[in-house]
């Protein structure tokens, strides 16, 4: 890696001097692509049929259209919940405020949930940010590393000392979304996961309060589920790299042995842990 960096740095330094004017041109171009006011006529020739502004608009339109499609693909639940027109208008604002910083389009949209939290027209819909967090987690899980699942049988086959000293490894695909709203039920109504539903999000009783959603990979599929307080607590302790012995000791001070063991077995069956 060091050799690669050194080699590329040398190439880059060698090219730097001659690329300064190019960089100036590119920066001007990219600023315009992301919605800043520029003067295309200063660097674009124009033609008999199209002015420099019209020629540049072809690129601005292409970039914005592409990123807009990416947002719609990655945030399908938010798109369905808000409707195509609202989502597109919000997406345009997001795109101009959040230029892409990765060569991979799979990384675009990371800041979208927080953007939704702070988007003034959505202040009456404060759950949209968490809905976007589920969509983003789904997208991350879909592309996560393929892993070898750790089965409950394999864990139970360990000697008692090994068993209690074990630090479970959570799947790379696993995401826990804490919400102040019944977010899993909102996701069910907006994701199309239950086919056509006559119930709208507005029919939900928000007084029912907080819900915690789990997003993770099962084989090549992505699962989304509501998890209980004890499951959430268990998974957070696993994320903190606590041993199984410590996790049991903590949870047994709050829950019965049956509740703890049922929770543990259920999370193993869900394929939350990897070898």
């Amino acid at each position: 890696m060091l050799m690669l960096n050194t080699m590329l740095l040398q190439v880059f330094e060698g090219m730097k001097e001659k690329s300064d004017s190019l960089q100036q041109l590119y920066n001007e171009f990219m600023n315009g692509v992301y919605g800043q006011s520029i003067y295309p006529e200063t660097f674009i020739q124009g033609s008999a049929r199209l002015s420099p502004q019209q020629q540049f608009a072809a690129y601005r339109g292409s970039v914005v259209g592409n990123l807009s499609n990416v947002l719609a693909d990655i945030f399908p639940s938010v798109n369905r919940c808000l409707g195509k027109n609202f989502f597109e208008a919000m997406g345009l604002r997001y795109i101009d405020e959040h230029p892409s910083t990765s060569p991979s389009l799979d990384n675009y949209g990371q800041a979208f949930p927080t953007f939704c939290d702070n988007f003034t027209p959505l202040k009456e819909y404060p759950y949209i940010g968490d809905l976007a967090r589920i969509d983003w987690a789904w997208h991350q899980a879909f592309h996560a590393l393929d892993e070898q699942v750790l089965s409950l049988t394999a864990i139970q086959g360990l000697e008692p000392e090994q068993y209690l000293a074990l630090s479970l490894q959570p799947s790379e695909s696993l995401h826990i979304i804490d919400s102040s709203y019944p977010i899993f039920r909102i996701w069910q109504l907006t994701s199309g996961s239950q086919g056509h539903s006559e119930h709208s999000v507005t029919s939900l009783n928000f007084e029912e309060g907080a819900e915690c959603a789990l997003v993770w990979r099962i084989g090549y599929d992505v699962g989304v589920a509501s998890i209980s307080k004890i499951e959430r607590r268990f998974l957070r302790l696993v994320e903190n790299r606590e041993t199984l012995g410590t996790i049991f000791a903590i949870l047994l001070s709050e829950y019965s042995q049956t509740q703890v063991m049922t929770c543990f077995a259920g999370l193993c069956e869900k394929q939350c842990f990897v070898a």
Partner: protein, 287 residues
């Protein structure tokens, strides 16, 4: 037939292939159609795991694969992205693509990415700049890559060369190969009022390792390269001329927007294969 040797020296490529798209995975894997090869979009397989890589693995068990990317940003003034390059190399090692290609363009600057194929100004300085970067990529990967001519909708005031002259200049400097996109030549020729056949005549025969065919959209004031329609009649004519000049170079049917049933792509592929089979190679002069 002009088969092309694997970039890694493992196998060869010939005939008319089809661009691999997610919507067709199941059709392809269930029916194993008579297609000599598939081209995968590199950037769709940059994830750490999951279904896309699994499907590509299964397709690669049955067909030769080429990798075609949009993310190298070869013309950029930023340092080459080492993370992207490493992932590209890993994909090459895993899937043994016969060819690896990207575009003669820039798409990022100051760590901001446009995810589009922006043209460069056609100057000697720009040619040297991108030529050096292509060489650095080839040195890292350990083999030549192909660069593709892009469709363009503007011309920079500072350009001093024609697009064809610039392309030849870059290929010579970088010692790379050419992915000659016939549709892109036609689109740019129409938008900038140059002769597409003269463009073809300037291309170095021995460097042309692959050709692309796709559909454009007529916007009235200009042609837009949408990859969302059947290949248009004048592009078929230009393809026929390209085959006569370059020989039976492996050719790809590309379709990226409003993607139809796989049978539509197969029909386009069969049409291209008929042109491909009929070609009489008139000119064999390289540069």
């Amino acid at each position: 037939m002009r088969p092309v040797q694997n970039a890694l020296g493992m196998s060869s490529l010939s005939g008319v292939g089809i661009g691999l798209r997610a919507t067709h995975y199941q059709t392809i894997l269930n029916s194993l159609p008579q297609v000599p090869w598939f081209e995968a979009l590199t950037d769709n397989y940059m994830g750490r795991g999951g279904l896309p890589l699994h499907h590509l693995e299964r397709v690669a068990e049955h067909y030769p694969i080429t990798l075609h990317g949009v993310g190298l940003s070869l013309g950029s003034t930023d340092p080459l992205n080492t993370t992207y390059l490493k992932k590209l190399k890993q994909l090459c090692e895993r899937f043994q693509p016969v060819l690896v290609s990207d575009h003669l363009c820039w798409s990022s600057v100051s760590n901001v990415h446009g995810h589009d194929l922006f043209p460069l100004p056609y100057t000697e300085r720009a040619a040297k700049h991108i030529g050096d970067r292509i060489q650095a990529v080839q040195d890292f990967l350990g083999h030549r890559i192909l660069v593709e001519n892009v469709s363009s909708y503007l011309q920079y005031k500072e350009s001093m060369q024609t697009e064809a002259e610039f392309l030849v200049d870059v290929i010579e400097r970088a010692d790379c190969n050419l992915l000659c996109d016939i549709n892109n030549i036609f689109v740019s020729a129409s938008n900038h009022n140059f002769d597409a056949q003269e463009y073809l005549e300037l291309m170095p025969v021995d460097r042309v390792q692959e050709m692309h065919l796709a559909g454009y959209e007529d916007q009235g004031t200009h042609l837009l390269d949408t990859h969302g329609a059947k290949v248009h009649a004048p592009v078929w004519s230009l393809y026929e001329r390209a085959l006569q000049r370059f020989g039976q170079v492996p050719t790809l049917i590309e379709w990226d927007t409003n993607i139809p049933e796989f049978s539509v792509l197969m029909a386009e592929r069969d049409k291209a294969a008929a042109y491909h089979a009929d070609v009489k190679h008139h000119v064999a002069s390289g540069f």
